[in-house]
């Protein structure tokens, strides 16, 4: 197990280096990139005015990113500053340190993602049981039909349709802003519904195959009812593979928040990133890209570790199936 964790951590470091290198060189290749500024002609003031920022901020950037040094020094300082959490400032928010900005906005995004996953998992288990108990019945096929619709449509289309129905026509839920738990309902639902679609289908199929297995027949033969079979035997065996199916959704979910927060006006990191991208705030883009990839890698690692604990077979190959 320890070897498995060490191996995965090593892969994570490699992935981190690749992600940071690619991000760094893309930023350097961007037209008018701040990493390629000519500081000789006109000095700091000219560089600052070409970036449309104050000379003080420009000075801070030069120190932060070593703009007067060769690329490997720049790259190293980028990675080192990220790892040691010296993120400096960004162009759009010159008065707020980036670390503070992330500290303020990231919990909102992460909270949104975690609540959505939790809602999705519980709803999927419930729907899966509902459908699997009456295999091929009307309840089963209609639940699964709705689930298929859910898998097909991305979160942002669900979001606008929910906003239209519950916010505009029924006027029961707020569609924009962030002033309380009520404002979380529609974003969470729109992120959760596509995941519920695919997870509940998975749950149904694995429960049905468990219900057809011989150990379940044995339980029935010994006088157990359907409730006991599902609760004490079949459900446990179906939940283990569900962990791996949740894994890839978490990465997608983190990306989903980038679009959903903008639609609902939630002040999370996703919205900050989307704005930074459309306004070409390169320092902020660089840091948040790394942050997101680290979070996604950690979550994938966590999922694989949980699965490794639950299912010893996976420790040999190092990867969970279904990824």
């Amino acid at each position: 197990m320890i070897r498995f964790i060490l191996k995965r951590l090593l892969y994570m470091v490699i992935s981190f280096l690749v992600v940071s290198l690619v991000t760094f060189f893309l930023m350097k290749a961007a037209p008018g990139s701040f990493l390629e500024l000519n500081l000789q002609v006109g000095g700091v003031a000219a560089a600052a005015s070409s970036m449309q920022i104050t000379p003080q901020l420009m000075e801070a950037f030069i120190k932060q990113y070593h703009l007067d040094a060769p690329w490997y020094v720049q790259y190293w300082s980028y990675v080192y500053d990220f790892v040691t959490l010296h993120l400096g400032y960004s162009m759009e928010y010159p008065d707020t340190p980036t670390l503070q900005l992330i500290g303020r906005t990231f919990p909102i995004s992460i909270g949104l993602a975690v609540v959505s996953v939790a809602v999705a998992v519980f709803a999927s288990i419930a729907l899966g049981i509902l459908a699997a108990r009456r295999e091929n019945s009307w309840a089963d096929s209609s639940t699964m039909f709705v689930a298929t619709l859910g898998t097909a449509v991305p979160a942002y289309v669900v979001a606008v349709l929910l906003a239209l129905v519950f916010g505009v026509w029924l006027r029961v839920l707020p569609v924009i802003g962030f002033q309380g738990p009520k404002y979380y309902v529609l974003p969470v639902l729109s992120l959760a519904i596509p995941i519920i679609g695919s997870l509940s289908r998975y749950m149904r199929n694995s429960l049905i195959s468990a219900l057809h297995s011989e150990y379940v027949v044995t339980v029935f033969a010994k006088g157990g009812g359907i409730r006991e079979v599902i609760r004490r035997h079949a459900l446990k065996n179906s939940l283990v593979p569900l962990v791996t199916v949740v894994g890839p959704h978490i990465a997608g979910l983190m990306m989903g928040t980038v679009l959903i927060e903008g639609l609902f006006g939630l002040p999370g990191l996703g919205q900050v990133f989307a704005q930074a991208a459309s306004r070409r705030d390169y320092p902020l883009i660089m840091d948040s890209t790394l942050l997101y990839s680290v979070v996604i890698m950690l979550m994938n690692l966590l999922v694989d570790l949980i699965y490794g604990v639950l299912d010893p077979r996976i420790r040999k190959t190092g990867y969970a199936e279904g990824r």
Partner: protein, 292 residues
């Protein structure tokens, strides 16, 4: 529905594609999905002929009109016909959806086949690369690419396919690994067939099933990424209509003119549902293990 067991007995000595078609024919949902996909593709290809107006033509006397017989989906803030814009938006979605899938297929099959067939350190290096790309925050990476390289159609094709080819590479590698050990590949190798010939003639045709299924799910996935990009203003350059941009415009007018949102959102949703039905059907048709 006729019993699928009989069908497979009749078809078992025909080509895999024919066998697949026979199974697909019995799946009503897949046929509906296939019909929807075909309709969308036709609408996209012939958008220029079908659409009643020019997508740039504005009419300031007819702004924000609700649906009428003249404008079935109403008109937008500049009096442009929404039906026309939606049709052209479908065209953008299809170009990026199919185009990016072609890129993914090319890279993914190449990397996956070489990694799976060569094995050893080649496999190790390629799979580490695939894992690294897998760790990329996909949408963020697409956003960064568009920010850096600009909004042209080619950049968007690259941005959409930049991270999604790894899924294809993994599928192909898994297929190749299992087929490589089969008797007929060994026979071909013993008769002196080259690596490329074995991959092209024997391995790829036999791993067709999962690849076709992955393609049918990949195309709507690309459409979602592309529309997502243009939702935050990083899509195909205006005035070329785009479904994501239309949805974003409609969302801003959600309280005052909901018809601007309903049209594009529903058309996009129906398109994606069609692809999903078809993909589900294909998966069932290719899955020889679970005969329902």
């Amino acid at each position: 529905m006729s019993s699928p067991k009989d069908l497979s007995v009749i078809a078992s000595n025909r080509s895999p594609l024919l066998r697949m078609w026979n199974r697909l024919r019995g799946n009503r949902m897949a046929l509906v999905g296939g019909g929807m996909v075909l309709l969308v593709v036709l609408l996209a290809v012939f958008a220029g002929w079908i659409s009643p107006y020019d997508y740039q033509q504005s009419d300031f006397l007819a702004t924000y009109q609700g649906p009428t017989w003249k404008h079935l989906f109403g008109t937008d803030s500049l009096g442009r016909d929404m039906l026309t814009r939606i049709l052209w938006g479908l065209r953008s979605a299809c170009i990026v959806g199919f185009g990016a899938e072609f890129v993914e297929l090319t890279i993914g099959v190449l990397v996956g086949a070489v990694a799976g067939y060569k094995g050893g350190w080649v496999d190790n290096v390629l799979m580490r690369l695939v894992d690294s790309v897998y760790a990329f925050p996909s949408l963020l990476f697409s956003i960064v690419l568009v920010v850096v390289l600009g909004h042209s159609l080619w950049v968007i094709l690259i941005a959409v396919s930049a991270t999604s080819w790894v899924g294809m590479a993994r599928i192909v590698r898994g297929q190749v690994l299992s087929i490589r050990q089969s008797g007929y590949v060994e026979a071909a190798r013993s008769m002196g067939a080259s690596t490329m010939t074995i991959i092209r003639r024997y391995i790829l045709p036999n791993s067709m099933g999962p690849i076709v299924v992955a393609v049918s799910f990949g195309i709507p996935g690309n459409m979602m990424t592309e529309a997502g990009l243009s939702l935050i203003g990083l899509g195909v350059q205006p005035p070329t209509p785009d479904l994501g941009e239309l949805i974003s415009e409609g969302q801003q007018a959600i309280f005052s003119y909901p018809h601007l949102l309903i049209g594009p959102a529903l058309v996009f949703a129906v398109t994606l549902v069609g692809f999903t039905f078809l993909g589900d059907g294909l998966r069932d048709a290719f899955d020889t293990k679970s005969k329902r």
